[in-house]
């Protein structure tokens, strides 16, 4: 009965994973892997180099620099997205006129393909002709170098990622809120609990199952959020906004010949990091009595 599942997982996950790990232990690049071009057959000439790639990556300061910023970026994005999402979900979780309209409007960023949103933001951020600076100029404020200054660029990419991530949080948390029985709130109100107390002792525990899942998912997505960084700043200015995945891309695809083995090593390291995060997070939840 499980044969089809095993087969599918083996083909679409297992093989690429094993192949990636294997390549990361070699010196394979675009110039020495096997190819057939027309009548030409070029044999594979790469060789096994053991852990050389990992040693090279981990002993390079670049990896640790980028890891630091990647962690900061992930924590900032996930916490902001969660807080904004939770606030909006609470505001929408009551009967108010035009609720459907608000929900649709807040879902919109999710409905637009990410690259279109990002390109739009890039136009808004343009220092010389973007709308944001035009608005600021109207208020008598000097132009802000949104994407041209390392610190502003970091804030700018976080803002875009939060904007993109909020709808998902909103929908998930709204679902969670609506699954909390209304009687609990009524009873608490009868007992004289304040709004904050109701939030603290009913909403937060009631949302725990949903929020622990969305935070973990969001962490993994943000950690690997290639399109926002790549399309908005290409990791620039300089390498200020470069996260691990975009840096792996730069190292391995912008140079020629393309370095498959080093790119694979970066990929494996990123996978290991995220697996560790997931395991630690699950343990922490289990300690709090959460069954997940």
């Amino acid at each position: 009965m499980v044969a089809p599942v095993v087969l599918v997982i083996g083909v679409i996950i297992g093989y690429p994973l094993v192949r990636g790990v294997f390549l990361s232990l070699t010196d394979a690049n675009e110039a020495n892997v096997e190819r057939n071009i027309g009548v030409n057959h070029l044999p594979a000439t790469y060789k096994f180099t053991g852990l050389d790639n990992y040693r090279a990556v981990l002993s390079d300061g670049v990896f640790w620099d980028r890891l630091g910023w990647t962690v900061l970026w992930t924590v900032a994005c996930v916490s902001l997205t969660f807080l904004v999402g939770l606030t909006l979900a609470n505001m929408l979780n009551r009967t108010l006129r035009g609720r459907t309209f608000y929900r649709l409007a807040l879902i919109l960023p999710w409905a637009i393909p990410a690259f279109i949103s990002v390109f739009t933001w890039r136009m808004l951020y343009n220092e010389k002709s973007g709308i944001l600076n035009k608005l600021l100029a109207g208020g008598g404020i000097d132009a802000v170098p949104w994407l041209n200054d390392p610190t502003w660029a970091k804030l700018s990419v976080i803002a875009v990622n939060v904007w993109l991530g909020v709808p998902f949080m909103l929908v998930a948390l709204l679902g969670g809120l609506q699954s909390i029985p209304g009687e609990l709130y009524e009873a608490a109100e009868m007992d004289g609990a304040s709004a904050w107390q109701r939030f603290r002792h009913i909403t937060v525990p009631g949302l725990r199952a949903v929020s622990s899942t969305v935070i973990l998912l969001s962490t993994i997505w943000t950690f690997n959020m290639f399109p926002v960084i790549f399309l908005l700043t290409r990791g620039g200015p300089g390498d200020a906004t470069e996260i691990l995945v975009t840096y792996a891309y730069r190292l391995s695809f912008l140079d020629s010949p393309r370095n498959f083995s080093e790119s694979a090593a970066w990929g494996v390291l990123i996978l290991v990091l995220l697996s560790v995060v997931a395991v630690v997070y699950r343990r922490a939840l289990r300690k709090q009595g959460e069954v997940w």
């Binding site: 057939n36 030409n40 890039r122 041209n148 620039g236 300089g238 140079d255």
Partner: protein
């Protein structure tokens, strides 16, 4: 991307297309271009030739028309024209060629890509094939980028370089001459600002190709390919980074870390900057702006020099054939046709791009073209880049470091050193 979009106004394009309908029969077709009788003595050519063209939105209609013109000479050959945006073309070709599926038969290849693709075994050598025709007629510097390890892998189609675009009126109002060096430019900047309100220069801080004039101006280069030495981290490289930083810090120049292409051409068109370093592909775009309503207001001069020299990089486009092409004979004939004097003359007449054949420059219509008059002397003096397999990969480290210098995240010394280190990692046998 590096070259950006070569803007041509829609009107020019429409006019060009109208001409295209009549141009084939008329005019002086020069000495080359007779591609009907050369390489197909074994019988009539047939089949499909897929052509990946990397020209920009303003150019692509003309290129499609020219490419499909091949079918008139070889009715049994079907030309499948595909426009691939310049920014994606390199990666797309590598994916297709390496994966052995979907690669074109012929591609319009940037000069720095030829050695790279040839090194990876993706290109068919063209020596002794019908693709190379009347090779003595090519400008010698255009031929440079087609060779790799003693073989020829492409036919030159277009050549270009950078020049200094300037707003004649703004310079006149400020009472300054066209600067011959970046030093002079920095000195003139205060006058320009005071008298006209405009900034002297837009400096492309987002694109490493634009760093080369500063580097050449200090007598430096990225690498010395003959002696296998990395040169960018010597004194010249440091001085070049200092020059760009100085121009921006003293407010003689404005810059961006992203969207430099759009911002530069807009600033020039609006007259908010007096000068910009740009290439022939942008003359028409510049002239569409309000600062150049009087077309004569746009001047082009050689790129300013540095403290010891003057130079700008040589660029352009070649035609290369995929080694895995199923229709090599037709592909060779197509390359011959597309790089023929006749087609090059049409490219010049319609898009004002510079030909790579000496004979085309003798044609009166080409000779009297203002663009050619601007840029031919500049191309003659342009600096050839190192035509090595890694040539295109040399740009990315420069981009990162020029960003860092301009935003103050690295000193010129640190930037030059970091670039040199990146090169040594890339070029393992270099000193």
């Amino acid at each position: 991307m590096r070259r950006g979009i070569r803007g041509i106004t829609a009107t020019a394009l429409v006019a060009g297309l109208a001409l295209a309908a009549t141009a084939c029969g008329g005019g002086d077709s020069g000495s080359g271009g007779d591609s009907g009788s050369g390489g197909d003595s074994g019988g009539e050519l047939s089949g499909t030739v897929t052509f990946w063209d990397t020209s920009n939105d303003a150019e692509k209609a003309t290129y499609r028309k020219l490419a499909e013109g091949f079918q008139q000479e070889h009715p049994k050959v079907h030309v499948k024209y595909v426009n691939v945006p310049f920014g994606d073309a390199n990666a797309k070709f590598k994916n297709a060629a390496g994966g052995n599926s979907g690669a074109p038969d012929v591609m319009r290849t940037e000069v720095a890509w030829v050695a790279d693709f040839a090194n990876l075994g993706y290109l068919a050598p063209l020596d002794g094939t019908p693709a190379l025709d009347k090779t003595d007629d090519y400008l010698p510097q255009a031929v440079g980028s087609t060779k790799f390890k003693g073989k020829t892998y492409a036919a030159p189609q277009v050549i270009d370089t950078l020049g200094l675009f300037y707003n004649k009126k703004l310079l006149k109002d400020a009472g300054v001459e066209v600067p011959k060096t970046f030093d002079e430019l920095a000195k003139a900047a205060k006058k320009i600002k005071a008298k006209t309100g405009a900034t002297a220069l837009y400096l492309r801080g987002d694109d490493p190709y634009w760093f080369l004039p500063y580097l050449y101006g200090e007598g430096g280069d990225m690498v010395n390919a003959r002696d296998k030495v990395v040169e960018i981290d010597d004194g010249a490289g440091v001085r070049a980074f200092k020059t760009i930083k100085g121009l921006v810090d003293s407010k003689a120049a404005v810059t961006d870390a992203t969207d430099g292409y759009e911002n530069q051409i807009k600033a020039l068109k609006d007259g908010t900057v007096a000068m910009a370093v740009d290439g022939p592909w942008d003359i028409e775009a510049a002239r569409a702006g309000k600062a150049f309503k009087d077309k004569k207001n746009l001047g082009v001069a050689p790129v300013p020099g540095g403290s010891t020299a003057q130079g700008s990089p040589q660029g352009g486009w070649n035609l290369s054939v995929y080694a895995g092409s199923k229709n090599l004979q037709a592909s060779y004939a197509f390359v011959k046709y597309m790089s023929s004097a006749k087609v090059q003359q049409q490219t010049n007449e319609k898009l004002s791009l510079l030909p790579t054949r000496k004979s085309v420059y003798e044609v009166p219509a080409v000779k009297s073209n203002e663009m050619v008059q601007f840029f031919k002397p500049a191309v003659d003096g342009a600096v050839q880049r190192p035509w090595i397999a890694e040539g295109n990969s040399l740009f990315e480290p420069v981009k990162v470091q020029m960003n860092k210098v301009l935003t103050g995240a690295a000193s010129p010394q640190q930037a030059a050193k970091a670039t040199g280190d990146a090169y040594r990692k890339l070029l393992k046998d270099y000193k």
